[in-house]
Symmetry: C2
Subunit: 285 residues, 2 copies
């Protein structure tokens, strides 16, 4: 049987009791380690579980799924996923492959950033569709996310922006030469995201948002050292939030007074916050 | 200190290891028991924790929050919430009250229906805002949810509909006479929700959706006996999904082929599913 077990958001103790029981009795345990990361390393998980954990990189999951699933008709195989198992499409693929092989699947849900972002004080009901932000390069600055943001903004809803992570990426040169040398991991920061959003607006000029638009930066959601900051996109484009993972929420105009009070508490600057707020936000708009 | 601890979606083993540790060492443990329910009863939780659990009904939380928080500056108080602690506004109020009293708060996140609904095979990225459906009465059929659904439908997004539960409700007569007699709990079914949606459309006549619109019914998400059914709203209006809790997802037209393949597997009737699908769905529309 294949068990997709969610790990939650922060550390090794965020696994559920049910998830931990399954991990302890399984034949093999894989850790999905490229669409998100836990805030502790693999060794800490292994010590906590009292057993080895196999790191599954993109290559293994996308081309070696049959190795992961080998023997799954007889033994229990665990695939650990940071957050909730259904957060990323990849795992749907693994489930479909298991189904083809006649292997049963169970899922152990856990906290996901999609609901964990409620820690900001923003109501989950007031969020539109979630978007992803990738690292821009000199020549590649994809802005399809901007169209999704516009749809949310026009309705007055908040937008959760999930930030890119680059793990086990090869440089073009190393890839061309077939060298299995990997670049250091990179995790997008709130500041980088805010700056890229302003870059897109600069280019598209549709006035969907601007330097004075309000947003919330969230770092290490669910961890003891979680950090929240609210402010204008311009302010957030230089904010320092510390270690990964980061997320950003662009505020919708249909913000409730209770939400405003909550996020104002952790504003970079309450004066600029208030000045921006009165210009474009509030449930009555 | 006040600890808001998420219980997840199904049974007593869905608590996280961190959450369980906090419950075991706390001075008092409350269970929020009116915005959602766990699929096991309080006694099972008490046996699992090896300690008493105090049921907190709406009255206690809304008017007796200072009793809940009493001594919170010195001892650990746990407030257990089904799903994730930030799923409902009520708990934000409790946090704000704790803040006023100078009591620190921690949150232990867990799975929420907002992310757990990914078990349907529908991508969380493709959901718009979430709406709530309350029990209609002869004279009260609130349809503000319909406006939210329209906004999602116009963009092509799925809509998660959370279904009403009535726990410890008094009849008007008993309330007027001051009798503390409560009606039996009621949990809205997928069938009731689908029927009410069609009733609203019938009344509003805006053609936002209709009897042939596709939807997914989900019962007991995250539990071993989870059940998923896809079909037209008309089909779902008579479907039998068993014990609570139920949720419904109204399909958006921007459905991806992979999503279609996944939900088609559990269609009430694959023929009517296909017939409805070709008329109005698909990412290319």
């Amino acid at each position: 049987m294949l068990h997709l077990v969610g790990l939650g958001l922060a550390d090794e103790t965020d696994i559920t009791v049910r998830g931990l029981e399954i991990v302890k009795r399984a034949e093999r345990v894989y850790l999905e380690a490229y669409t998100s990361i836990l805030l502790v390393d693999k060794e800490k998980l292994e010590a906590f579980y009292g057993r080895p954990v196999i790191e599954a990189d993109r290559e293994l999951v996308e081309t070696g799924s049959d190795d992961i699933l080998a023997g799954g008709d007889k033994v229990d195989i665990v695939f650990l996923v940071v957050g909730d198992p259904f957060g990323a499409t990849t795992h749907t693929d693994l489930v479909l492959r298991a189904r083809e092989l006649g292997i049963e699947t169970t899922v152990v849900p856990n906290a996901s950033i999609m609901s964990g972002i409620g820690c900001t004080g923003l109501q989950l009901y007031n969020f539109g569709q979630t978007v992803s932000m990738v690292f821009f390069t000199e020549t590649w600055k994809p802005s399809s996310y901007y169209d999704r943001v516009r749809e949310n903004i026009q309705i007055g809803l908040h937008t959760l922006v999930l930030l890119d992570i680059k793990v086990k990426e090869q440089s073009l040169e190393n890839m061309a030469r077939g060298r299995r040398i990997f670049e250091p991991p990179r995790y997008m920061t709130v500041a980088q995201c805010a700056a890229q959003m302003l870059e897109t607006e600069e280019e598209r000029q549709e006035g969907i948002y601007g330097p004075d638009s309000l947003a919330v930066g969230a770092a290490r959601v669910g961890a003891a050292n979680q950090k929240l900051v609210s402010g204008t996109l311009k302010e957030l484009s230089t904010v320092e939030m510390g270690a990964p993972l980061h997320s950003l929420v662009l505020l919708g105009r249909r913000t409730h007074d209770l939400e405003r009070d909550y996020i104002r508490e952790y504003a970079v600057n309450k004066e600029t916050f208030d000045a921006s707020y009165v210009k474009g936000y509030g449930a009555s708009l």
